[in-house]
Symmetry: none
Subunit: 279 residues, 2 copies
Amino acid sequence: MSGTNSEKELIAEGPAIILVEPQLGENIGMVARAMANFGLAELRLVSPRDGWPSEKARSAASKADHVIDGAKVFDTLEDALRDLTFVYATTARERYGFKPVRSPVTAATTLRERFASGQKTGIMFGRERWGLTNEEVALADEIVTFPVNPAFASLNIAQAVLLMSYEWMKSGMEDLGRTPFQSLDQRPSTKEQVFGLFEHIEEALDARGYFHPPEKKPKMVDNLRAVLSRRSFTEQEINVFRGVIRSLDRFARQRPLPATNRQQAEGANTEAQASDSDE
Amino acid sequence: MSGTNSEKELIAEGPAIILVEPQLGENIGMVARAMANFGLAELRLVSPRDGWPSEKARSAASKADHVIDGAKVFDTLEDALRDLTFVYATTARERYGFKPVRSPVTAATTLRERFASGQKTGIMFGRERWGLTNEEVALADEIVTFPVNPAFASLNIAQAVLLMSYEWMKSGMEDLGRTPFQSLDQRPSTKEQVFGLFEHIEEALDARGYFHPPEKKPKMVDNLRAVLSRRSFTEQEINVFRGVIRSLDRFARQRPLPATNRQQAEGANTEAQASDSDE
């Protein structure tokens, strides 16, 4: 369908679209086109299989050159997320975990509110074949999934980006009596600060043999990160947490454990570890 | 994105999708796939350029065989519309005329209402290059157009079908925030569990001289409790936290602190304590 008017203003704002290990240049191009259709412009590629730049991508983008030219390539997903404050992971598979699961409408509304308050946000999309790993999903704040036909649920990556981009566009057009996003007194934490908290606490726990048995460590780390990231701690809150961890980690008790805590510590050592939160 | 569950019921109902003189088999296949994703099944083709059936279409449909197998071919658009009661024409170009122009949401709601009352309806899509003629649009009851970036408005045919199919699926949902799966059902924590967390962490910190100087302790406790309670941790999350505190509190490190953490611990001991979150 045609209808482009090149004299009109090009909308280019909103959340970053992050493609994790995309395989085909054609798909990257179709993603760029879908983004441009609905006013998104910031494309981030994590280790694109066939390298970058890609002539196939440019061709499939159907003149969405501003998106293709502005695309940034990252070696790791963490690098692609560092400067963002709030990130969605898209998935069609059920994920059993702590993370809230949102519809595209709800997710777009949330992204729009955060955009209005000046935050940088993103939406992660997985590989063509098998989507995002659990570890990758764990780096996001919330999950977004699509209301699809249960017996035919497989959306391709460009379609998934199209739907989220479309809902993004709609979220800015609806004339709802919605209250604007409340401006926080505190600064939202960047992903880099969140990753710093993860590494700090995991190192301190690992040094004590907390992640036991070793084969359960990945799941325990997943659950712990889910707990620590579900509610988007502010920068200030992360500083407090790290001060707490440092104190517990580095300094010896100056008096013995009280009797009640001693009992709890002995009785409940297993059941309270992160792996068991996965009921 | 994967996630198809072949044991689940295949939804196949709703308005017919009518493609007017589609050119590429690949596009017809992607249309079929998009329809299947969102529960539509009836595909009508008006004079497909490369004939029918099409192996390229079947391949691009990614197993939406029920849509491909059920597709019907018509010589004229009039023939394709005869048994329908209400038809939308999709277009990205402005059309000056008497016909009402609707958004996809409004159009899907209208189609859903007519479906519920037993009517057969349809949505027309034009050729890849130049859409529908004015004469073809004139055969429809109303026009539907997409909220696109004015400077980059060109949607391909499969994307346009995808968006209408998606809105069709949503129009059948009572709660637009609903998702096919949800995060784990967690019990909200009682205040007693929250107080238990407070006492546990405060005792462990107090035993290390964290609350210093003593006259600042009440304010520091206040701030720490604010951080720990602001977002209503669940019972499971409190269990995870208490396991973390117990590990840090009771067990000695089994290997030395890494250099980076050591520096941070020495440099930032004061500024990261809870009293400083009160800026």
